[in-house]
């Protein structure tokens, strides 16, 4: 599903955020990405989303070198990836419901079908009863869950999450991770960047460890 081939990423010419990345993620796999702050986790995910292009090497997703995508194709590519952002990226002037329905709106899904899917997604993250609330009225953890609902509402084949449990208490974190595992079980490829080493270790999935932009360990679950 995802292949990094000798990928390097420089910001502003000199600073090397990522270097010599080589790995593959198979279809239907669930992978954790970890490393210290500034190790390059977000940068790696941004490369997959094609928010950045690699300075060196190739990023291949579903058999396509995504650097080759024409600018007009990029939106259609992005629609097929569900992303939970480190900073939520919610719109604060619309309700939880409308935030979650945004990807479906962009795709032009018929409103009744869209509403059904939005409610299903909100139900999964346990926020159905807050659908009319504004994001401002929610706690940080609840906002995070709205972001997750938005990422999965579209039933993407690939799910990327950047610190999805950053603001959650341990119990809720475990619940959210279980949710990701549910999606993984029905065939979704899942890649999660996280600091929460204890939680990750417990879950027994593959772990990619970054340090200063380099892949220092690729631990397969036993």
């Amino acid at each position: 599903m995802i292949a990094f081939e000798h990928v390097g990423k420089r910001y502003g010419g000199r600073f090397e955020a990522l270097a010599h990345l080589n790995f593959r993620v198979a279809r239907g796999e669930m992978v954790f990405l970890t490393g210290h702050s500034g190790a390059g986790k977000s940068s790696l995910l941004r490369l997959i989303m094609r928010l950045e292009k690699p300075s060196r090497g190739r990023v291949v997703v579903a058999g396509h070198d995504i650097a080759q995508l024409h600018a007009s194709q990029v939106p259609f590519y992005r629609r097929q990836i569900g992303v939970v952002f480190q900073d939520h990226q919610l719109l604060f002037d619309r309700s939880v419901f409308r935030n979650v329905s945004l990807p479906l709106e962009i795709q032009g899904l018929e409103p009744r079908e869209a509403a059904r899917r939005v409610r299903a997604a909100l139900d999964k993250v346990g926020l159905l009863y807050r659908e009319k609330a504004l994001p401002m009225e929610l706690s940080g953890g609840e906002q995070q869950r709205v972001g997750i609902a938005r990422a999965v509402v579209n039933k993407p084949a690939l799910l990327l999450a950047d610190e999805p449990t950053g603001n959650l208490d341990p119990q809720l974190s475990a619940d959210i991770m279980a949710l990701f595992e549910d999606f993984n079980r029905i065939g979704t490829t899942v890649m999660i960047a996280s600091h929460d080493l204890a939680l990750i270790a417990r879950l027994r999935h593959r772990i990619l460890r970054l340090r200063d932009g380099r892949l220092v360990a690729d631990e397969r679950a036993v």
Partner: protein, 345 residues
């Protein structure tokens, strides 16, 4: 409804381009002519739905901040009113022109020694000329009467014993073409008994040149003020884009096309244009009402029957379409220029 003038596939519009597919469903679900067909029509419906939603959404945003938006529309209206009013005036000047053509005449003054019967003979000779349509003989007595009347000086001139005026013939030519009239004048001068031929064409021509100049000025003003409308709308939309920058970044992060992002702003621009156009029509009507009385009085004092022209249905439609189009275009330029600088973070 308008489509963004861009070759890019729109938000939900049918498109032949495919991004790298990350297949979520088995390929079988995507094949088959029928499912292609339904996909196409459902996409078309989705596209129409988004247009409708954005048209209403942008209208709602406009109404929510009536004051600022009204000022923008007023600026557009003012920019449109000036060239439109000038054009209208010139259009009515054209009607006046026709009236002037009718009144284009030559006057020949006969020598003082010519008596009444000679004068009649000369008039007959003049009528025989193929370029002459009609003539009117004015005897010295008639001339004096008209003169006195026009000056309102009955008593003063009544004291004159000798009538100093010559017999004159007013000639209405067949053609109002300046060169034809000049040739006619040259011919008439050779007639015996003719003292002087006076052609009063200079002012007719001057008026024509003036009208021509006016039309060019109106056109130039139209183009200039059209740019003004573009700038006004462009600036307003630029601010709107800036204030919704965050939203734009987010929707682009999750796969919105440029056309999708642009759409609500294009509708805003078009609404500004519609509002500005309607206001301009209102202002023109108001101006007409305001000026009608004095203009009619002025025209009457010249013995002319002239009413201020009003924009008819066609004219109003043209004005409204132009302003709508300008608003849309201004928005398009502003959004397109601005979108290039917005990259999702």
């Amino acid at each position: 409804m308008k489509r963004a003038a861009t070759p890019r596939p729109t938000g939900a519009a049918p498109s032949k381009r495919h991004a790298a597919k990350v297949p979520a469903e088995p390929p079988a679900a995507r094949s088959g002519a029928r499912s292609q067909q339904t996909r196409f029509s459902s996409r078309l419906r989705a596209w129409g739905r988004h247009h409708r939603a954005m048209a209403l959404d942008s209208l709602y945003r406009l109404i929510r901040h009536p004051m600022g938006n009204l000022l923008t529309m007023l600026a557009i209206a003012i920019a449109l009113v000036l060239p439109a009013a000038l054009w209208l005036t010139l259009d009515s000047a054209k009607l006046l022109d026709a009236e002037l053509d009718e009144s284009a005449t030559l006057t020949i003054y006969l020598e003082l020694s010519v008596d009444a019967s000679q004068a009649t003979r000369i008039e007959e000779a003049v009528v025989a000329d193929e370029d002459v349509a009609q003539t009117r003989l004015i005897t010295p007595e008639q001339g004096m009467a008209e003169f006195q009347q026009s000056l309102g000086l009955d008593d003063t001139l009544a004291g004159l014993e000798d009538n100093p005026l010559p017999t004159s013939i007013v000639i209405y030519p067949q053609s109002v073409e300046p060169t034809a009239i000049k040739q006619l004048a040259v011919r008439l001068e050779t007639f015996s008994g003719v003292d002087e031929v006076r052609v009063d064409l200079a002012w007719v021509e001057r008026l024509r040149h003036l009208a021509d100049l006016g039309r060019r000025v109106a056109l130039a003003l139209g183009v200039l003020f059209g740019f003004g409308v573009l700038l006004v709308v462009g600036n307003t939309i630029r601010l709107a884009v800036e204030s919704r920058r965050r939203e734009i970044e987010v929707v682009m992060l999750i796969g919105a096309t440029h056309a999708f992002v642009r759409r609500p702003f294009l509708y805003s621009g078009a609404w500004y244009g519609v509002g500005g156009g309607l206001l301009a029509l209102g202002l023109l009507g108001l101006g007409n009402h305001w000026l009608a009385m004095p203009v009619a009085a002025l025209a009457a004092s010249y013995g002319a029957n002239f009413v201020l022209p009003q924009l008819d249905v066609t004219g109003s439609t043209i004005l409204l379409s132009c302003s709508t189009l300008l608003g849309w275009l201004g928005a398009w330029l502003a959004v397109t220029r601005h979108l290039a600088s917005i990259r999702p973070r």
